[in-house]
């Protein structure tokens, strides 16, 4: 009697502990091996771009917080930066320093969330708690600065809303020192662990040509050896004043992405040290901005390096206070495209490993 086998159609999500949000992956399985995977997104689509057409630019800033909610400061920045470039507004130095410091702190916080949740997916329970405990310090710093823990609404066109309170800069300096020590602990606990290495090495591998073709950005591109970091190649803010390296790795698999992100935390700490030293003791936090922010007629696309990759903002303005068309180029949306290609031939366990290593946030995927 011949054995009859069937392909199994499995739905991973949208409610699932490991899909980092409401993502659904429809998977065709042959035993434990995936033959086809199709991501289905749109569960978190809130129509930000359509809403923006009726709001003036300052009103759009809270909406940007909620796109990539793990990394809200960089979202704020990309919108303000695009509008400032269109209007030719100069941001005062102290404001720009504050912006850079919070963006780098946000990068560290975002990578901590990634590290903790990635290891939780892989099965290790404790690193999650360690990462979140350290991230709590950053969140408290942000709370002191702008009153919010997750969605900050901190930047404005032309500067920032709140100045650093008394002693805040010293607290950030203390945190930088503390975090350097913590990175050693992270390495000792996880990076050398044989089981962990066996889980991530060689998994989800792709080469530089695929990465460029699919428009991947951030750690997903740099893990293949392409040293493309918008902070260095298309500098914005004050990044060209500071010395830091672009973290790259050669292998192009989950292990390489892991290494790149941990290295990015190190480089962020390096930038923070320099920025805190050069922080201007006094200055304006808001530049000369007309009462109603009205970019001249025209269009512009500006992009910056968020923890997930290249986040961009394309504005078409007709000279009014509201944008005619506002489009956000979201890194998680573009990065997620490569998932079906990576999953063919992998096991179900590796689905979780690969998905975690791409580091997506569904708020950003769906906008």
């Amino acid at each position: 009697m011949a054995i009859r086998t069937e392909e199994l159609l499995l739905n991973v999500g949208p409610q699932h502990p490991s899909t980092h949000g409401v993502l659904r992956v429809v998977v065709k399985l042959d035993g434990e091996v995936i033959t086809e995977a199709t991501p289905v997104i749109g569960y978190l689509h809130r129509g930000t771009e359509k809403l923006a057409e009726n709001l003036n630019y300052t009103q759009i800033i809270p909406y940007t917080d909620r796109m990539d909610y793990v990394s809200a400061m960089t979202n704020n920045y990309v919108l303000c930066h695009t509008v400032e470039k269109m209007m030719g507004i100069e941001v005062p130095e102290r404001a720009e320093f504050l912006r850079l410091i919070v963006m780098e702190l946000q990068r560290i916080a975002s990578h901590q969330v990634w590290w903790g949740t990635y290891l939780l997916d892989i099965g290790s329970l404790s690193p999650f708690l360690y990462a979140f405990r350290d991230r709590e310090i950053i969140i408290n710093l942000f709370n002191e600065l702008c009153g919010a823990r997750l969605t900050y609404n901190y930047m404005r066109v032309g500067g920032v809303k709140w100045d650093a309170p008394e002693g805040w800069i010293d607290k950030v300096k203390d945190f930088v020192k503390y975090m350097k020590g913590r990175l050693e602990v992270y390495d000792r606990l996880v990076t050398g662990n044989e089981i962990f290495l066996a889980r991530v090495k060689g998994v989800g591998k792709y080469d530089a040509q695929t990465a460029i073709d699919y428009g991947l950005s951030g750690a997903n591109l740099r893990c293949t050896g392409v040293a493309w970091d918008l902070r260095k190649t298309q500098p914005y803010s004050l990044y060209d004043r500071f010395e830091f390296d672009v973290a790259t790795a050669e292998e192009g698999d989950c292990w390489a992405r892991y290494k790149v992100r941990l290295e990015e935390i190190r480089q962020s700490l390096r930038i923070l040290e320099q920025a805190l030293e050069q922080f201007p003791p006094e200055g304006e936090i808001m530049g000369k901005v007309p009462r109603v922010v009205r970019p001249p007629e025209g269009e512009y696309y500006a992009a910056i390096e968020s923890p997930r990759g290249e986040i961009g903002c394309y504005i078409v303005s007709k000279g009014k206070a509201e944008p005619y068309r506002l489009k956000f180029r979201r890194p998680s949306f573009v990065n997620l495209q490569v998932l079906p290609k990576l999953l063919v031939g992998e096991t179900m366990t590796n689905l979780v490993t690969i998905l975690g290593s791409i580091d997506i946030v569904l708020g950003e995927v769906d906008c």
């Binding site: 997104i41 749109g42 689509h45 129509g47 771009e49 359509k50 470039k85 269109m86 460029i212 073709d213 699919y214 428009g215 392409v226 493309w228 190649t233 298309q234 007629e297 025209g298 269009e299 512009y300 696309y301 500006a302 992009a303 290249e310 961009g312 394309y314 078409v316 005619y324 068309r325 489009k327 180029r329 949306f333 573009v334 997620l336 495209q337 769906d366 906008c367």
Partner: protein
């Protein structure tokens, strides 16, 4: 005021109905100077008048003085005269005023016309001068605005050419040579950020895309962003490209009409475009023939309508 002018003009040129008409019109247009369109008409007319005025200042002055009395006479002319002036083939030539006017008429219809105009206007020479100045100022502002809107080319104050102009020229050159003369519809530099921007024909898009990606000088291998824009008259798809090697940014636009918007898909050239085009299809309704899997991505699969369009009305009023 206008009535007076017309009347005066009408009775001043009895023997020259067309001239009278023109005089009327001149008076009329002098009054109607504020429009930009009239700006062209006015300066030349004014110039002509000024030129003629140079020739015949004395007669004009004389006429002015002479007409002082006739003004009253003209003023008493009833409005019907005004409307009948065009029918007047032969206005009463009697009278010194007519005679002096007829003198000017012998110099030439135009001169007479101008003299008549001048006679009409000389009463308000300073008003005319003010009007002239205002019209000139308006003309200058209009010209400056037209220039500032990005026309480039003819302008009173030339802007320095963008440093990326040679890049733009080279790009257009390459595309025209490799793909075809009709590939590029227009090319300009986006003043914000000095980005070379070209607008391509939709049919040539995929070939152009291949050239852009593979040509050794361009090497635009990284598609940063694809955006759809609903301009109310048409729709556009904008591609932002960069070369990871040269770090130069380019923008490509493709225009398509609003009724059946359709832009060939470039997802074979840059795989990034796959989901981006699906998103544009989902939200704006632009079709991408050649796309491997064009279906809705963010909205539910059974959604009716394209939400990001400017004229979008939700099918379900409660939404």
């Amino acid at each position: 005021m206008k009535q007076d002018q017309t009347v005066r003009a009408g009775t001043a040129e009895p023997s020259d109905p067309p001239a009278a008409e023109r005089a009327e019109q001149a008076a009329g247009t002098n009054e109607a100077a504020p429009l930009v369109a009239g700006a062209d008409v006015n300066p030349s007319r004014i110039d002509q008048t000024a030129a003629e005025g140079g020739e015949t200042p004395a007669p004009g002055a004389e006429q002015r003085e002479g007409d002082g009395a006739s003004e009253k006479a003209r003023q008493t002319v009833t409005p019907e005269k005004q409307s009948d002036s065009s029918k007047q083939a032969d206005a009463p030539k009697g009278g010194d005023e007519s005679g002096s006017a007829a003198e000017g008429a012998t110099a030439g219809a135009a001169a007479k016309n101008e003299a008549g105009v001048k006679a009409a206007d000389s009463a308000d020479a300073d008003k005319e001068a003010k009007r002239k100045a205002a019209a000139e100022a308006r003309a200058a502002r209009a010209a400056a605005k037209a220039k500032a809107d990005g026309d480039g080319g003819e302008s009173a104050q030339p802007k320095p050419p963008s440093p990326n102009q040679p890049l733009l020229d080279r790009l257009v050159d390459i595309l025209k040579r490799e793909v075809g003369e009709d590939a590029v519809e227009s090319a300009w530099i986006n003043p914000i950020g000095d980005i070379p921007t070209v607008s391509l024909r939709a049919e040539r898009l995929v070939d152009c895309a291949r050239v852009l990606r593979d040509h050794p000088e361009l090497q635009l291998n990284y598609l940063r962003n694809v955006a759809g824009v609903d301009m109310e008259t048409h729709m556009e798809v904008v591609y932002h490209l960069i070369s990871l090697n040269n770090k130069i940014n380019y923008s490509i636009k493709v225009k398509t009409d609003r009724e059946h918007p359709s832009v060939p898909s470039v997802s074979e050239v840059w795989s990034t475009a796959n989901w981006n085009e699906r998103e544009i299809y989902d939200l704006l309704g632009i079709d991408f023939p050649g796309h491997p899997d064009l279906r809705r991505i963010l909205m539910p699969d059974d959604w009716v309508g394209y939400p990001l369009r400017k004229d979008y009305v939700p099918a379900d009023p409660e939404v």
